[in-house]
């Protein structure tokens, strides 16, 4: 493409690009506020941290992130592959029940399992009374440990990997599997040499979400007594009373995440992942006998451990405590939770489409970076995001008020701080990555030749998006919307700090009771979070199957 042509193309996209870049910059404000702390002078707390706990934080965070990656990959890849490539009894049932653990916030599943499995819990107590054991007479795995945390977090986050891979597998032509089968290549070799390498963007997108969410997790590691970067950040702030050092610690965490993402981008720079046209019929390896049983076991374990067992336990607790706990205020809680989730979902979906498409039409090298910066909030603990929102918003409020008072003699007070607007904004920043990743991934699957053809036919940027891309990425957008909805329903720390007066959500209620170790009392609201999240998850599954049909591939 000649220079002139390129310039003209750039110019025709200018409006869209300006809009995308300004949205991205707006969304980057909280993260930028956090990163800004890096250039502030460091206090002597840093030398204390370095000489005592920093190495532990880094090591534990690394072990946790790697462990959860392995855990979610093992579960996610195996189940996605089984459900896409094999036919066995119950496959259809598993293909959607495998998504259910997503409804559990990690801290709730951690509380639930601890209640069941720790030394003083029912399982070990029964063992002790059955065999007459006492402490030290027997070995039982310690749930509240880093291994326990890895298992808990993996159990509720693997659906990200599973979901994105299953979608990718179903969008791959099944003729690949068929051809490979005809050449006598076994299913394992097919998976590792053909299918998985081709689905790498999906796997990476899933694992990126998993890693970011893991690093931002506070509830689980805090309860398990595993010192990580995140608990360290809050310890520096709350315990040492040094917010600047705490945000500097958060920046360090962010820079690490950024480095990992860049390294991954660079490593697959050369490869392209656009799928050729698909063939109508889907072909699966048939399974029977012992192999079918094995497939059923592999698929049912994650559902059992990640959803059914904890849900039953919560249900049992709820039955005992509900009459006392559930009152009229519960409806307000549900309304607030859903209201916030709907607002945030709408904003994120729109912004994701604008940004992801901006990345596609923008040729300048800086655009992808700007866009990705707006998604960094996912790796930042919610409470730090809250600070990143609070500081600039309060500044803006004061600046506006000062200006109005000087020039018009009126006071506007606080317009943004402490309102639903700042709360929603914080959520948008925190969960932007989910929307963006999913819309981005589905846009990437549309071959560029389509854009070029449309452009040759004189289609303007907006027309191309509205008439061509938007209908093709509907599935991706719906996925984004449903995932965001579920995440907002579960979100806690930012809500705690930023909410308006008397604005409680289910997560806030759950946390207040659970952190007071009133787990049984917290179960009603916890179960409601799960119940509210299940519906979008089921819709999610349907939408993916449907979009698969639209694309001509049956799942």
């Amino acid at each position: 493409m000649g220079f002139f042509q390129r310039f003209r193309q750039q110019k025709s996209n200018l409006g869209w690009l300006l809009f995308a870049v300004s949205t991205a910059l707006l969304l980057s404000i909280p993260v930028a506020t956090v990163l800004y702390s890096v250039i502030l002078p460091t206090s002597d707390i840093w030398s204390h941290l370095r000489s005592t706990v920093l190495a532990d934080y880094a090591l534990n965070s690394l072990v946790l992130a790697v462990g959860v990656c392995i855990g979610t990959s093992l579960i996610g890849i195996s189940t996605a592959w089984l459900c896409s490539a094999y036919s066995f009894p119950g496959r259809k049932l598993f293909s959607w029940t495998l998504l259910l653990p997503l409804a559990f916030p990690p801290y709730i599943i951690a509380y639930t399992y601890t209640g069941m499995l720790d030394f003083a819990g029912p399982v070990q107590s029964v063992m002790r009374s059955l065999f007459g054991w006492e402490y030290g007479d027997y070995w039982f795995p310690e749930i509240r440990s880093i291994a326990g945390a890895i298992i808990m977090i993996s159990l509720v986050l693997y659906p990200y990997v599973y979901l994105l891979l299953r979608t990718a597998f179903s969008e791959q032509s099944s003729s690949l599997r068929e051809a490979s089968h005809m050449f006598g290549v076994g299913p394992y070799k097919t998976l590792f040499t053909i299918i998985l390498p081709m689905a790498r963007p999906a796997l990476v997108a899933g694992l990126t979400l998993v890693v970011m969410e893991t690093l931002a997790d506070y509830g689980t590691v805090h309860y398990f007594g595993v010192p990580t970067f995140t608990t360290g950040i809050l310890r520096t702030w709350f315990g040492l009373g040094d917010l600047i050092a705490a945000t500097q610690q958060a920046s360090l965490l962010l820079l690490c995440v950024f480095a990992v993402i860049l390294a991954e981008r660079y490593s697959r720079k050369v490869a392209h992942y656009q799928n050729p046209a698909k063939i109508q019929k889907s072909w699966r390896y048939p399974l029977s006998g012992a192999k079918a049983v094995a497939a059923i076991v592999i698929c049912s374990l994650p559902v059992l451990l990640g959803f059914i067992v904890p849900a039953l336990q919560l249900g049992a607790w709820t039955l005992r405590t509900a009459p006392e706990i559930i009152d009229r205020s519960f409806f307000t809680l549900i309304f607030n939770t859903v209201q916030l989730a709907v607002i945030v979902t709408l904003i994120i979906v729109t912004a994701s489409a604008v940004l992801a498409y901006g990345k596609r039409v923008g040729t300048h090298f800086s655009i992808p970076y700007t866009v990705n910066l707006s998604a960094m909030g996912y790796a930042v603990p919610g409470v730090i995001i809250a600070v990143g929102v609070l500081l600039p918003f309060a500044w803006l409020d004061h600046a506006l008020d000062g200006w109005l008072q000087r020039n018009l003699g009126i006071s506007s007070g606080l317009i943004l701080t402490g309102t639903l607007a700042s709360l929603a904004f914080a959520h948008v920043v925190r969960f932007m990555a989910i929307g963006l990743n999913s819309v981005d991934a589905s846009l990437a699957k549309i071959h560029r030749s389509i854009d070029d053809a449309a452009q040759l036919l004189g289609c303007k940027t907006f027309e191309r998006f509205a008439n061509i891309h938007l209908p093709m990425i509907r599935g991706g957008i719906l996925t984004a919307a449903l995932l965001v909805f579920v995440e907002v329903t579960k979100e806690l720390p930012a809500t705690l700090v930023l909410r308006p007066f008397d604005f409680n959500t289910l997560a806030v209620r759950t946390y207040e009771l659970a952190s007071d170790e009133r787990l049984a009392d917290a179960s009603s609201s916890a179960l409601l979070i799960v119940a509210i999240s299940v519906l979008p998850i089921l819709m999610l599954n349907r939408s993916i199957i449907k979009s698969g049909v639209i694309h001509g591939a049956q799942t």
């Binding site: 204390h48 005592t52 706990v53 601890t114 720790d118 030394f119 003083a120 029912p122 070990q124 107590s125 002790r128 006492e134 402490y135 310690e142 509240r144 440990s145 805090h222 309860y223 398990f224 007594g225 010192p227 608990t231 809050l234 310890r235 702030w237 709350f238 315990g239 040492l240 009373g241 040094d242 917010l243 409470v383 809250a386 600070v387 609070l390 918003f393 309060a394 409020d397 004061h398 008020d401 007070g413 606080l414 701080t417 402490g418 705690l496 700090v497 909410r499 308006p500 007066f501 008397d502 604005f503 409680n504 806030v508 209620r509 207040e512 009771l513 952190s515 007071d516 170790e517 049984a520």
Partner: protein
Amino acid sequence: MKIRILPGVQLTLGVCLCLSGALLGAAEVNVYSARKENLIKPLLLRFEEQTDIRVNLITGKADALLQRIVSEGDHSPADVLITTDAGRLYRAQQSQVLQPVDSQILKESVPRQYRDPNGYWYALSLRVRPIMYAADRIRPEELSTYEALGEPLWKQKICVRSSNNIYNQSLVASLLAHLGQEDTLRWTERLVGNFARPPQGGDRDQIRAVAAGQCGLAIANSYYLGKMLTSKDPAQRQAAEKVKVFWPNQEGRGVHVNISGGAVAKYSKNRTSAIKLLEFLASDDAQQWYAETNFEYPVKPGIRPSKMLESWGKFKADSLNLHRLGELNANAVMIMDRARWK
């Protein structure tokens, strides 16, 4: 026609509502509370009934609420800040978001060591952190002081939660105030050496671990034991019944206490109502409520603690002025870092 009238009616109604609110000057007070909703709301409702002052509430972590007040600056809607420890009140005062309150009622209700010397904050309840022991395995004669928990006798015997917890930070801060830097570090290291397991869970978890036999002693706030003893869950009750309270340092300075307390925000627009609320929270009624419902000790002298609290016996409390806990908190955290108290 109907369609045209409806919005008009709505608008008029809305304007009327707004005006009536403004004209009546319905008094209100905005509370930022680190005390959880279910542990403050019942009292606030009672206050609303008695005074016709409307109370708006947000709850959250104390430091985050404090940061919000700081950012909001002179427009902050906050009138009252309620925390569950003295250190945070001290920090709020240092951040210059509080104003001194000179109330005769508060001064008479709250003893000197439980309020700021200049009236910036007042304690509203006492939270005591004694030693708890397994009644069937540990003889109370073996116990004496916090300091003695560092002795080899207690190797592998002690359960306590993470040092991220403010109650542990305050405990170490109180030792810093009494013993100084060197001795406190040495004690903390020895204590960590005596842990039966890496710190995990909350205070109730420590009590449960004592009951189940994983450790012989726990350091935990007494009201948690009270809540377990009255729990609807039979397992919690059974566990709590196996555990007894020991008041340490009774020959010396007394058992470590912390407070929950309140303060009036510097830029409060409802100062009178805010002070009224604090006075209400220090009143006999409210003080009794803390003792009956949450098993905390009343801060006001002469209020009879609940039956449960009486059954644990009388104790001598550390008379250290609590703003010292705030001053020494960061130092305490550093010592716990150095002693590898997770």
